[in-house]
């Protein structure tokens, strides 16, 4: 979720810059950020679900083994 906030902040900066100079590049960069966020979210949530199923908790500190 914090990654989403940060990506949105950078996207807002891109949009503002693109709007300031009147170029479409800022919006295109935001589209790429959007695609990247979608891929990242799908992988991350799948990993969280798997971790919850295996460890029965959501504490990140519990994930201290490479092969549990």
């Amino acid at each position: 979720m914090c990654i989403e906030i940060m990506l949105n902040a950078s996207g807002l900066a891109f949009i503002a810059a693109g709007s300031w100079w009147g170029q479409p590049d800022g919006q295109i960069m935001f589209l790429f950020i959007l695609a990247m966020a979608a891929a990242e979210v799908s992988i991350g949530l799948a990993f969280v679900l798997l971790f919850h199923k295996r460890q029965a908790e959501l504490d990140v500190d519990a994930a201290s083994e490479l092969r549990g």
């Binding site: 979608a38 799908s42 799948a46």
Partner: protein, 197 residues
């Protein structure tokens, strides 16, 4: 339009701060959705209407709903009813409601004055974006499609093992559960007859 921009920006900052400081995951998600909507209003005020629509549809509509879905799925508790009754107290939903109502007012204002107010800066239309996206940046589009494909394959790979394990577990459970339920049924039946007698 300048007023709308700054109002929505302030709303976005407030909602994001609340999303970070909230202790409950669902509350934080609700504030984050409000923050995304406010950022979308900012995009609209900046003249990027196409990206504002995409922000609402993909970010607030798809990604955040995915988040909410997973959080709800992981939050299955025994005392879910009491927890939900606790969540429905006004203290919990009045914050996002106020922020969303301000956004709704901005939306109504934009709809009422559509076309008459100039945008904040020089606007970039969807046509320009499309021409540049599939002209200059076509390699980026291809790379994004590769990235999405990799994400799809990765998510499927992560989910496949869990699903296969669950299937095996389910099969084992039903094998052991069948005689149990049968015995329970006979037991309750005999108890019912004895009570009737």
């Amino acid at each position: 339009m300048v007023t709308i921009f700054y109002l929505a920006g302030t709303l976005a900052v407030i909602a994001t701060l609340l999303a970070i400081t909230q202790r409950h995951a669902v509350h934080a998600l609700l504030y984050l959705i409000v923050s995304l909507l406010a950022v979308a209003v900012d995009f609209y005020a900046l003249g990027a209407t196409f990206v504002a629509a995409l922000e609402i549809m993909i970010y607030a509509g798809a990604i955040m709903v995915l988040f909410v879905f997973v959080v709800m799925m992981l939050n299955v508790a025994e005392h879910a009813m009491e927890v939900e009754r606790e969540w429905l107290k006004p203290r919990n939903w009045v914050g996002p409601s106020v922020l969303s109502l301000i956004l709704l007012g901005e939306l109504a204002y934009c709809t009422a004055t559509f076309g008459s107010t100039p945008s904040l800066a020089n606007a970039v239309g969807p046509k320009q974006v499309g021409v540049a996206l599939f002209g200059t940046y076509w390699i980026g589009v291809e790379l994004a499609s590769l990235l999405l494909m990799a994400g799809l394959v990765g998510a499927f790979h992560l989910g496949r093992h869990a699903f296969a394990k669950e299937e095996r577990q389910h099969a084992a459970d039903t094998d052991t559960a069948l005689p149990d339920s049968g015995g329970d049924f006979v037991h309750t039946g005999s108890r019912g007859t004895s009570r009737a007698a």
